[in-house]
Symmetry: C2
Subunit: 258 residues, 2 copies
């Protein structure tokens, strides 16, 4: 079964199953990134060591933009669960368009947290998962490729808040309409928060970090990701930002009810 099946895409259980699958992908990305040093040169705008003509950003920015240009032609950003970092640079797909029914509100593409996600990743997540500080200049390309993967997967996870929000809105329109009309941000936040579900996510992440973080045939070997860091990344960044997306999405939801 595929998450984007239109008939079940707003089924909350289906959304949660997909979020569970994404945990594995993100953990695998963190493990790949953990093999390299921090490499801050990758993230530095106008780094003199990188000669990019007519470009103002970092090496990561340039590379991510190139990859998005390719992926856009593979139809990546027609999918409602994908959000580009460089929406003004992507191209038209070479594949025929998908006739996918509109399941999210008309303004969904305007909710784009990618710049925030990128800054968060660079400033807080990389220092936790990259074991060593320092540059490893000859690894800049490899680091950038893994960073792109990881950012795309974090972006998908966090913007999934839109599906969660739409499902919750559909399941209790009366309540949310009232909260939205009153611009009651706290009330919305309270209603979208399910502490039990969040605690379960963190508990599952602890187990997954234990299991995936070490070679199962050599348990005395190097630990690639610690449960503490993984839980911290989700508790302090991924979960709160997903909820921010949900609140922003819901606050505008009545625009589509005319």
């Amino acid at each position: 079964m595929n998450f984007l099946e239109p008939s079940t895409v707003l089924d909350l259980q289906n959304i949660r199953d997909e979020l569970v699958k994404m945990e594995d992908t993100i953990i695998f990305d963190f493990i790949e990134r953990s093999h390299f040093a921090r490499c801050s040169g990758v993230y530095q705008a106008n780094n003199a060591e990188v000669d990019i003509p007519n470009f103002d950003g970092s090496f990561l920015d340039w590379s991510l933009m190139q990859i998005e240009i390719v992926h856009s032609q593979l139809r990546r950003f027609e999918s409602p669960d994908q959000t580009p970092f460089f929406p003004n640079h992507i191209l038209k797909p070479i594949l025929p368009s998908i006739n996918y029914p509109k399941v999210l509100a008309s303004y969904d593409a305007e909710i784009n947290y990618n710049t925030k996600i990128k800054n968060l990743y660079i400033d807080h997540i990389v220092p936790m998962i990259a074991k060593r500080s320092g540059e490893q200049k000859e690894q800049m390309g490899s680091v950038t490729m893994i960073d792109i993967e990881t950012l795309q997967n974090l972006s998908r996870r966090i913007h999934f808040g839109k599906f969660v929000a739409e499902a919750k809105y559909q399941s209790n329109k009366e309540l949310y309409k009232k909260l939205i009309l009153e611009k009651d941000v706290n009330g919305i936040m309270e209603n979208i928060t399910n502490s039990q579900v969040e605690e379960k996510i963190l508990e599952r992440l602890r187990v997954k970090a234990q299991v995936y973080g070490v070679d199962p045939t050599n348990k005395e070997g190097e630990r690639k990701i610690t449960p503490e860091y993984l839980v911290r990344i989700y508790r302090d960044f991924v979960i709160p930002m997903t909820k921010e997306v949900e609140v922003e999405y819901l606050l505008r939801r009545l625009e589509d009810e005319k």
Copy 2:
């Protein structure tokens, strides 16, 4: 520690450690691919549904070429452990060149098994890991992106035979020179084969498929990769093709001894 450290890159233990790390990467790729159907349209040359102007190959070929063009600018193919699928289309890096000492023989780039690896992947590996047959046309882009990752990682694994071969050659030049002069392919194959090491690899893969293939917090859940298939892929394809690379590399090794 990074594999490509010039002083240890031909240390056989170091090479084996890197091969172990790659197993995880390849298993994670297989797991990602397992979520999708077979999608043979991705692999079909001149598929009428894909409108690629002036291009004769499959959708996968076109996409892989675009990605390689981006990656080449990130210096991917300057690294001796990377082998392009489209060597005639890649571009110059925008990063300064790495001053990496030549550790492999001068002809190493001429040993390129990528077409063979791609065919093998499409014909034998995808049918084993993609759970369902069928097309899932709306997923062609996602499938292609995962295929590219997987192919690049399989290619790195198999072409690692060059490092293995060079290390073995260095450790017993007398023996290999004699075998090479006699064009004794069987003798070379016998000397590079370490059945004990191969059995250990397969044993480790069985355990990894058990552990990584199922959600550790829901062991009754769906199994994403079976030990049987993973072992078969390595035993029948990955290991023999790595050895083919080793033999081809060694047979030409005296070209560099003049």
